[in-house]
């Protein structure tokens, strides 16, 4: 943290000490993923032999588990369902939260702060508190057991989250810019769309990424509201439908877990900084 006037030797020692302390953390974080990947590439003969070392591949990597997953299960359907649900529910949520976030961050009207508080409270409500009544609501709406049950219910946690996140970003847009546009004769809606939104693009990208990640990863609603195999999302399909009667399913189970995480890993690799800023904004700016 502080370098001060210490010598070069002391600095190197201190950096080595920090790296040494980080190793266990990085190992702890990454080992499960490494092990899942290794498992998915091993032959059954090697996986279920107590004589072989589980930590690495000894008898050659094979793609059998992946082939099984793609050819003999509904994995690709699940992936497609996840994609449709994530894109639609994230889009719907943003269409609702962008105006709401702008209104709460920027406009003055009676009750605005109570609305802000209400959004914050719903942001803290855990999905596990509401899954039972929502499972009845989707039945009444006639969308139970379809992907629409998820498209409709995912905004319940996404809208509070992205509204809260976007409020922070809208507050950083200088007020003068908006006022200038209004003076020049733009309507309020034009000001929002042409002036404020372009300046809040980092926030919108962040909300999109988090929306996609949160909906792709969602588990309890997808598990509860959908029971037909053909309508399941990737996370629930892999978790619930790949376990067959015998015990020799680990290879394909891990292959499914790896493949179903790929879209998130891709987003993550390209937009790491957005994830970091969204994570801290969600909790800290609050």
């Amino acid at each position: 943290m502080t370098t001060g006037v210490r010598g070069r030797g002391a600095r190197i020692r201190s950096a080595a000490w920090a790296y040494g302390n980080l190793v266990p953390f990085v190992f702890f974080a990454l080992f499960p993923f490494y092990f899942m990947l290794v498992t998915s590439l091993k032959s059954n003969a090697e996986l279920y032999s107590l004589a072989s070392a589980p930590l690495w591949i000894q008898r050659g990597a094979i793609a059998d588990h992946y082939r099984f997953l793609l050819e003999r299960t509904e994995f690709l359907t699940w992936m497609k369902n996840s994609l449709v649900v994530s894109v639609l529910s994230t889009g719907l949520s943003l269409a609702i939260s962008i105006p709401a976030g702008y209104s709460l961050a920027r406009l003055r009207f009676p009750g605005v702060s109570s609305f802000g508080t209400a959004v914050f409270i719903t942001y803290l409500v855990p999905p596990t508190l509401l899954f039972l009544p929502l499972s009845r609501v989707v039945v009444w709406l006639g969308i139970a057991d379809t992907i629409w049950a998820l498209v409709v219910t995912y905004p319940t946690f996404l809208v509070p989250f992205s509204t809260w996140l976007l409020m922070g970003y809208f507050r950083t847009v200088p007020k003068e810019v908006e006022e200038c546009a209004l003076v020049d004769g733009a309507t309020r809606m034009q000001t929002l769309i042409r002036i404020v939104l372009p300046m809040a693009i980092p926030g919108i990208v962040c909300a999109l990424l988090f929306g996609f990640t949160l909906t792709w990863n969602e588990f309890i609603y997808a598990l509860t509201f959908v029971s037909q195999t053909a309508n399941k999302t990737a996370v629930v399909g892999v978790t619930a439908d790949l376990i067959r009667g015998d015990i020799y399913y680990w290879g394909s189970l891990m292959a499914g877990a790896v493949l179903a995480s790929v879209p998130i890993v891709i987003c993550y690799v390209f937009f790491l900084d957005y994830y970091v800023s969204g994570l801290t904004a969600g909790a800290v700016k609050g």
């Binding site: 302390n21 974080a29 855990p126 309890i220 998130i264």
Partner: protein
Amino acid sequence: MAVSPRVFEAARLPGAGRLARVHEWWEQEHVFGYGLILPALLLLTGLVAYPFLMAVYFSLSDYWVGSPGQFVGLANYRDILGNDVFRQTVRNSFVFTGIALTLKTVLGVWLALLLARNLRGKRLIRGAVLLPFVIPTALSTLGWWWMFDSLYSVVNWTGIRLGLLSPPGPNWLGVPAYAMAAVIAVNVWRGLPFFAITVLAGLVAIPREHYEAAEVDGAGAWSRFRYVTLPLLRPVLAVVILFSTIFTFSDFNIVYVLTRGGPVNTTHLFATLAYQVGLQGGNLGQGAAISLFLFPMLGVVVFLQLRYIRRE
């Protein structure tokens, strides 16, 4: 910002009349403001507030899947409070949340201090450490399930090779204390990045002068941490801990995938028990009553968070 006359000027379009009046009305700050939050408000009322009230109603009735029950007052609450499985669940929830939260806080602050240093490859290390938080929890927990397998556990294999465990090693998911340890370990694994990254943001915001002043006074590393870093981190830590309390307390994914609440209910949390009773058992009334026990904790957290925000 008050509604300025210019806004009305802007609204005076050619072909005035009803359309212009509607336009004028819409350009008023409060009308525009309410208009923009209306969709969010409808959604949150219809799909959060209303279902919450439904949960309260369910919990006061003997509602089963397929038979809209009758009002039974507090009978469900009386039943579950007298039930051993439920009492076990309450104990589990506090043990789980207490231990997991302590570990996440201590390790998270430690990790944040390490990440705050200006090391080469900093970005890569941060990326690696944050990964457990973004990968679907249910899927990574499948990986942990396999790592804790009773026969092929890689944890036991490695521990035995290193001489840390005596063969055959613990049956992680089959013995209550070990199963709880396993569930906590996975929760810490997944939640640690959130603590570390958020605390890191708090650390970066501390002005350097504070440390320089402390160094001039001859403060060592520990006293700098104890008397400079920690007090200045308090607001961030308070928010993170409160936030994590509610989401650890209401966890579902990890327990459901790893143990299904077993062995003999020793890792059940409110959410997994509510799922088992309300959905698998079909007893929506009791299930709703169980999940509503999350509400007091939520209430406390909301109260403290709001008080904290107001003070800011």
